[in-house]
Symmetry: C2
Subunit: 320 residues, 2 copies
């Protein structure tokens, strides 16, 4: 089943959010508008807004309120992508030139700042200080994660827990908070929004691990960037960490630097695959997926719960 | 009279805010903490916190509440400085190496993001959605101003209104909002916080114009960076705009580029001064100062009103 089919009953609301995202990136500054909308048009799964909407269905769902939260979460995600691309010197995202590639690093820095500021403007449209507080604390964590990611680059002696801490901040928290804030903004009870946070958190970990696996197993066409790009950029992900438990492979991986060629990378990817690191990573991803599903158990049985389960399972199996 | 003497009765509270700023820049990430505290220790007038506190005195002053607002405003200002230094390739700020100089542009980008996120965390400590909304909208405007500043660099055919729009967003709004939010967080009535906003807005314009004058009239030692640096960076400020009304000087200014030497700049500064542009700029600054003082007239007569008047006058006369 295709991802969008899993929540087809939300189509009208998701279309509305896409329109709101476009409106949110309009600006008096043509340069900012062009840069932001360039990123917006490159697409994306909009998985955070989907989680916001689904979570809100467990409370008193009012799309006029919930859309502000959904837009805010997607914008924060977008802003972090823009700054990530500066740090990673990424030329392509979703098969399109990144803002830093199409304009430059400086424009990308301020475009990221702008999208970020816009997201705050959206969240403050709901007059819920708790929601504001949760979001701002989450952003602090995301920023710490980002700077730690710079520090951990090409640091081959790092541990599994360093990786987990990074993907927690990089991905899991924002997905968890998407679920949590959707429920909170809809006035759902604490036992519901806590479980949804937990669900989002584990789904986020599973999602990021799958993403990190796909960076090694997908083709350049599927990824919209060369395979092995994470490693090339010095981002040591779970498959690389597992593969480095084989000393000979560790020795090869430790030689990776910015100028490693595509041919060399193809060889390294082959070596990594031969260690069984992909399967091991997949098992960890599955384990978090099970934890995510477990978190949903006590939630009331409704269509949206089924959608969350379907999406979680999809994330566990997705090929790109 | 020295600036600090004008509000010496606030000393204990200002010391508390300095401590809070230090606490706010502590981080699990040593790199982020070092970078943020490096900037903090370089000092600064902390004029935004001072305005927050003084404005709050027109309402129900509770330092435990107000300090959150004061810290938030100073942090936003700091974050914008960090990103500005990346854009302007500035090596020195307040006589100290900038974060981008001491570390690099990428660290500076995330350090700015982090300080920015921290400021949001502080403002959400006061459970006042109106305050959150005002601040986030202000940040959007500041970001637009920053990107417009990039676009306007070395654009010698710009107008007075382009300059005003830029300094409004760059400086005036954040000072206006410091005054406004101080009053709002202290529960002051609308007629009070609106007048304080107006006061801050005009003080901010006057302050920035004075700053832009000093960039031409101060020594390298006073500025902590070479004189004429704004123009060298392509930031066309009011004295340059006025000087360009003299065709021969316009012709010389239009030749300025990144590689213009210190000797050439000394000559250009001399030419600018000879046109009377400094005096004209000073007159405009004074005009805004008068508007600022006028905004205070209807406020109740109290010690803090006197302080605001003194600070405004100080800003009009300051030499560095």
């Amino acid at each position: 089943m295709k991802l969008k089919r899993m929540y087809s009953y939300l189509k009208a609301d998701i279309d509305l959010i896409e329109k709101e995202l476009k409106a949110a990136t309009e600006s008096e500054s043509r340069l900012l508008e062009e840069a932001s909308q360039h990123l917006l048009q490159a697409g994306g799964k909009r998985i955070r807004p989907v989680f916001v909407l689904l979570a809100a269905k467990f409370g008193d769902y009012n799309i006029q309120v919930i859309k502000q939260v959904a837009v805010a979460l997607e914008l924060i995600h977008m802003a972090s992508l823009v700054h990530d691309d500066v740090i990673d010197d990424s030329e392509l995202r979703r098969g399109q030139p990144t803002i830093k590639a199409k304009w430059d690093n400086k424009i990308a820095m301020y475009a990221g700042d702008y999208i970020f500021a816009r997201s705050l403007e959206y969240i403050t449209k709901i007059e819920n200080p708790t929601a504001h507080k949760i979001l701002s604390s989450t952003i602090v964590e995301v920023c710490i994660g980002e700077i730690e990611q710079i520090k951990d680059k090409y640091r081959f002696d790092q541990h599994y827990r360093d990786y987990l801490r990074r993907i927690k901040r990089k991905t899991a928290l924002l997905i968890a908070v998407s679920c949590q804030l959707g429920a909170i903004a809809a006035g759902a009870s604490a036992n519901i929004h806590k479980k949804l946070f937990e669900f989002g958190y584990y789904v986020g970990l599973s999602y990021q691990i799958t993403d990190d696996i796909l960076d090694f197993t997908s083709t350049e066409k599927e990824l919209g960037k060369p395979a092995g790009d994470d490693l090339l950029q010095g981002n040591i992900t779970l498959p690389a960490l597992f593969a480095m438990r084989t000393p000979a492979v560790k020795c090869v991986i430790e030689q990776v630097h910015e100028k490693t060629t595509k041919e060399e990378m193809t060889h390294i990817i082959k070596l990594i695959k031969e260690t069984g690191a992909i399967e091991k990573s997949h098992q960890i991803s599955q384990r978090y997926l099970q934890k995510a599903l477990l978190a949903l158990q006590t939630l009331p049985d409704r269509r949206e719960k089924k959608s969350l389960i379907d999406i979680a399972n999809y994330i566990g199996k997705r090929k790109y």
